[in-house]
């Protein structure tokens, strides 16, 4: 008797087969290859990595510093990170046992979730949010539980919404403020309330603060350095946004020693270490890159003012976000769905924005516009968009 042999498709694990494709990816495929598109769909800084950082990386390659580093990351970089956490976040982490350098924040997320989740554990996370969160939770055999955020709250995560979704199986609360795609930020009072919630339900907090350097008008609040969260916080950050170093793929995680050690086990077996060149570049950014941040932040700040004023002027309701480089206008007044609006805007005006639904169901009726694009491009995009709305 012969058994039917498997097709390639059958070899795919069911929990991976069930993962949805990223909504961004769909849109990317539509935009790819088109000429003269002004893209407000790019979730990455438009600045070149500052020259002194690139130069250090080049110099390290010339020197031949191209070997594996310590699994945790070079001691120099971890010491500099401990110092950065101290002066920027008022948080104490021991560089020897509590800081781990990763391949971007994405890897940090992955090892954090794999280190703490058992099959069936529930993780609360807010939507709209970065596209990776729910898939990463699923890949770690957890159950993602979306908690909605709303325009009326300027897309802050509220304890009231969390209380509706928390269960005895809830293991962790995952959050990211300043937020991609909404630009939402938290006040320190919000952070304190969320910290109380986590303690009350005995949850681990995983906080992705990769946009923390890009806040305007005091939009910066952090989960790091809150004493009652010390033993239940995994803090994630990276170099991509603050120093425009996306392609270097450099992130880090700060957590109490036992958790760092657990993440380290996964990291050493699956990744070994972050790129040695990227680590040299990151050290230079921390040591001599304060002015770069200020320069880029000031520029984003002005562009944000411009784009929010322009969107509201054309009748698209848009709150003034205080972080990251995204605005999240409502397009409900046009009567179009997010997908329809984005597609027509692309086809009729050659302007690319990402439909809010790519970041969660409650992004329906909204659009993500990234303003990490030169002011001339932004001006042209706003003119085309305004003309488009008048024609509707």
């Amino acid at each position: 008797m012969t058994t039917a042999s498997k097709s390639a498709h059958d070899f795919i694990a069911p929990h991976v087969r069930g993962l949805p494709k990223s909504g961004i990816r769909d849109f990317f495929d539509i935009v790819a290859g088109r000429k003269d598109v002004i893209s407000l769909g790019i979730g990455e800084p438009d600045f070149q990595t500052p020259w002194h950082i690139r130069e250090k990386a080049i110099e390290s390659i010339e020197r031949g510093a191209t070997r594996y580093t310590s699994n945790l990351g070079t001691p120099e970089l971890r010491q500099a990170l401990a110092e950065y956490m101290r002066h920027s976040f008022h948080a104490e982490y021991d560089w020897k046992t509590e800081i781990l350098v990763t391949v971007g924040v994405s890897e940090a997320f992955d090892i954090a979730l794999r280190a703490v989740l058992s099959p069936g554990d529930e993780v609360l996370y807010h939507e709209p949010c970065f596209v990776s969160y729910a898939p990463l939770i699923r890949m770690a055999h957890g159950v993602p539980v979306a908690v909605e955020t709303f325009r009326k709250d300027e897309f802050r995560l509220t304890v009231a919404e969390l209380e509706k979704k928390v269960t005895p199986r809830t293991r962790a609360l995952l959050l990211s403020f300043p937020n991609n795609p909404t630009g939402a930020t938290l006040d320190q009072a919000d952070v304190e309330a969320l910290a109380d919630f986590a303690v009350r339900h005995d949850l681990l907090v995983i906080s992705d603060e990769v946009y923390s350097e890009l806040t305007y008008e005091g939009g910066r609040a952090t989960f790091a350095g809150i004493p009652r969260l010390r033993d239940r916080l995994i803090f994630l950050n990276g170099f991509s946004k603050a120093w425009s170093m996306t392609g270097f793929r450099l992130g880090y995680v700060c957590a109490p020693a036992p958790l760092t050690d657990a993440m380290m086990k996964i990291h050493q077996f699956c990744m070994m270490c972050a790129s040695s060149t990227a680590q040299v570049a990151g050290l230079e950014a921390l040591k001599n890159g304060d002015a770069d941040i200020v320069e880029m932040r000031d520029s984003y700040h002005l562009r944000r003012n411009f784009i929010v004023a322009s969107l509201n002027e054309m009748g698209l309701d848009c709150f003034m976000p205080r972080g990251a480089f995204y605005v999240f206008p409502s397009i409900q007044s046009t009567g179009l769905s997010s997908q329809e609006f984005a597609l027509r805007l692309l086809n009729e005006c050659n302007v690319a924005c990402v439909p809010g639904t790519a970041f969660g169901a409650c992004g329906a009726g909204f659009l993500r516009c990234a303003y990490a694009t030169g002011i001339d491009q932004l001006k042209e995009a706003m003119e085309r968009m305004s003309a488009f709305i008048k024609r509707l």
Partner: protein, 159 residues
């Protein structure tokens, strides 16, 4: 420095409406502030930054280091002011170090600049010495790169 001035230094032709949106104010306010800066002499002019290599021009530019003798009354100012009035002098600075004045000079030909130095500058009372360096190529001028920035090679849509 006022953010308005920073923006004007990047692009002096930016519209008042755009500047107003960027700075969270009105176009009227922008116009009033620019007028005030002009009145106060803070804004001394608006100029285009040119890549002269793209023009059919044979103009030459030179940098001239000048050592001069300070005067009992007024130090360097009287002679420096006098030199700065030559139309050939585009920019001029008082410097610390091995020489006193640094001049950026423009002429229609190498010969014209050489004549200017030998016939007009060097004989001036108080000028002790000159050293002339001709510019060969401009890579960057007033913070503007002469070759355009590399094309934006980011993915057109990304998370």
């Amino acid at each position: 420095m006022d953010a308005l001035l920073e923006l004007l230094k990047i692009n002096a032709r930016e519209s008042d409406a755009t500047l107003a949106k960027e700075l969270n104010t009105t176009a009227e306010d922008i116009r009033a502030r620019i007028a005030a800066y002009e009145r106060e002499g803070v804004i001394r002019g608006f100029q285009a930054v040119l890549n002269t290599e793209r023009l059919e021009s044979t103009d030459v530019r030179a940098v001239i280091e000048l050592r001069i003798r300070p005067e009992r009354e007024g130090g360097f100012d009287r002679i420096a002011t006098r030199i700065s009035k030559f139309p050939q002098v585009e920019s001029m600075f008082l410097m610390s170090g091995g020489y006193d004045l640094l001049l950026f000079v423009k002429g229609r030909s190498l010969q014209e600049v050489a004549n200017f130095v030998s016939a007009r500058l060097a004989p001036l009372d108080g000028v002790l010495s000159t050293a002339t360096h001709f510019m060969l190529k401009t890579y960057k001028d007033q913070s503007v790169l002469m070759e355009s920035e590399p094309h934006d090679d980011r993915l057109q849509v990304c998370p």
